[in-house]
């Protein structure tokens, strides 16, 4: 083979390789455009239908049989209370479970089973959690029906495995050399984990937590089971007061026959999306705030 032949063959192949490169990039771009298009479409339709209903009265009012008087404040407050209960329960439990599994648990069949169970738990349909909440919190423990307390407890069961999985991954990503450094200077295993590993894993833990919380915020099915679909005309003033939540309000209004509720439904969706965006924004802020530069 002469040098010319080698060069010619390479050039021929090079053209193909460039073409393949371009095709792949176009494909990726297409995927992004397609998914963004649906998001934009959704936002556009909601804004078009709902923006007219987004006034002060809507934002500060509570549910009503009259669409002109119905507002979102009661459901918003209900979501806030519910999220508070969910966070207060699932965050400490989830992080503690993750830390124990990752750093302290012995490697044996029991722990393997616990791990598999937690992974499965994250994939259990949410309606099942609703049934569990109904059976345990309402029928057995007699906690107040359709309250943010029971809603929050039920959603915490659902959110905890998500937090455990995210936290374990974040903890796993902390370089072993940091554990070595702390242990070799005479830090106890608990000091090593609490003072070095968890702070470094915190951005990942927080991101996972907020993703889990955002999912819980949009959840409707389990709350149906525990009676949060009741008509509630007064905003809840605590975690035991009867209450609705944002997605449930959307669900209820979308079922109404009165045309006035169409606008309310869209307006409520806008409020829910803004709430979600604010939570994701918080996640990004917290991640950057605790990110350690190496």
């Amino acid at each position: 083979m002469t040098d010319q032949v080698i060069l010619a063959r390479m050039e021929q192949r090079l053209a193909k390789r460039h073409a393949a490169e371009r095709r792949f990039r176009l494909l990726g771009l297409g995927a992004i455009v397609l998914s963004m298009a649906f998001l934009v479409l959704l936002l556009f339709i909601m804004l078009k239908n709902g923006i007219g209903g987004l006034d002060w009265k809507f934002l500060t009012g509570s549910d009503s049989t009259d669409p002109a008087n119905a507002g979102i404040w009661g459901a918003f407050k209900g979501s806030l209370w519910t999220m508070l209960v969910t966070l207060a329960l699932s965050f400490p439990l989830g992080v503690l479970a993750a830390v124990y599994l990752e750093e302290f648990a012995p490697r044996n069949r029991w722990i393997d089973m616990v791990e598999v169970s937690i992974n499965n738990l994250a994939a259990v349909p949410s309606i099942i959690f609703g049934l569990l909440g109904l059976a345990v919190f309402i029928n057995t423990l007699h906690l107040p029906r359709s309250s943010p307390l029971v809603g929050g407890l039920t959603l915490a069961l659902m959110t905890m495995p998500v937090i455990v999985i995210a936290s374990r991954n974040a903890i796993k990503a902390v370089p072993p050399s940091i554990r070595d450094a702390a242990l070799a200077i005479g830090a106890s295993p608990v000091q090593t984990v609490v003072q070095h590993v968890v702070p470094l894993a915190l951005p990942g833990i927080l991101t996972g937590t907020i993703i889990g919380m955002a999912r819980a915020l949009g959840e409707t099915a389990p709350l149906l089971m525990i009676g949060m679909r009741a008509f509630v005309a007064t905003p809840p003033d605590g975690i035991t007061a009867p209450s609705s939540v944002l997605p449930m309000q959307i669900f209820l209004w979308s079922d109404e026959i009165d045309a006035g509720f169409v606008q309310n439904t869209s307006a409520a969706i806008i409020v829910l999306l803004v709430f979600l965006l604010a939570m994701n924004g918080l996640a990004i802020y917290l991640r950057n705030r605790f990110e350690v530069k190496w």
Partner: protein, 254 residues
């Protein structure tokens, strides 16, 4: 060798699961000198080093048998507090591993958890003294609040040495402390080891035979999990007793 060795290992075996990594090694290590462990990769020298501060405890499948004594006290005895042992036997790792915290915090962490200082002034004094002894004070004294991780590799390794010194250990174990460093930083660390040796028992694992010859007074040669030869560094490098040692130091295998 001496009547009161700092560290004594007798008939030590180390297993990783069913695999034996160290086979019946006995050695005495003295204070005031540098002892080097040399040998080809995988010969078990790092594994053996990690027995002296029980860092092998962190590997679930690792099992150590035999006895290892620090000043005549069995460090694998049930009454031994590992946390305290590691304050007395410090360690410097292959890759510099400063905490992603400030330079000050890197040094202050050990004294703080062991309760060595009563107040802030004492803590600051420990930090300054440790950094000075590690030859880093002049370079960092104006930026103690900067992150330890922004220092150069050689500076980071000296920071790690200062961190180990800060809890006043009696022994410093060094696991290939220069293998991630350039020749200039390596020379700086070697000088430092030589300066530190009179106050500590220093054990250094190294891949570089030149480094062992430069910094150590005694050398142990390991091969396939066994200690082949142990003696004065000059002797090992000029007149080894074992043919395997001779082959290794003249570069015939490794």
């Amino acid at each position: 060798m001496s009547s009161h060795p700092k560290l004594t290992a007798r008939n030590v075996d180390v297993y990783y699961g069913p695999k034996q990594a160290i086979d019946d090694v006995s050695i005495e290590v003295d204070s005031g000198i540098v002892t080097a462990f040399i040998g080809p990769s995988g010969c078990g020298k790092s594994t053996f080093l990690r027995c002296f501060n029980r860092m092998n405890d962190t590997i679930p499948v690792a099992r150590v048998t035999g006895t290892i004594e620090l000043d005549g006290q069995d460090i694998y005895a049930s009454g031994m507090d590992v946390v305290q042992l590691r304050a007395r036997v410090g360690m410097v790792f292959q890759k510099p591993n400063p905490f992603p915290k400030s330079i000050f915090e890197n040094i202050a962490y050990g004294p703080r958890i062991h309760g060595l200082s009563q107040n802030k002034a004492e803590l600051e004094e420990i930090v300054e003294r440790s950094l000075t002894r590690a030859g880093l004070w002049e370079e960092v004294k104006d930026r103690l609040s900067d992150a330890g991780t922004v220092l150069s590799g050689g500076q980071q390794q000296r920071l790690c040495i200062a961190r180990a010194i800060a809890v006043s250990p009696e022994v410093i174990l060094m696991d290939e402390p220069c293998s991630a460093l350039d020749p200039i930083a390596t020379a700086r660390i070697e000088e430092l080891i030589d300066e530190l040796r009179e106050n500590y028992a220093i054990v250094i694992v190294t891949h570089s035979m030149q480094q062992a010859a430069r910094v150590s007074q005694r050398t142990a040669f390991f091969h396939l999990g066994a200690m082949v030869e142990y003696g004065e560094t000059d002797e090992i490098f000029t007149n080894p007793r074992e043919k395997r040692t001779q082959d290794y130091i003249t570069g015939r295998y490794g």
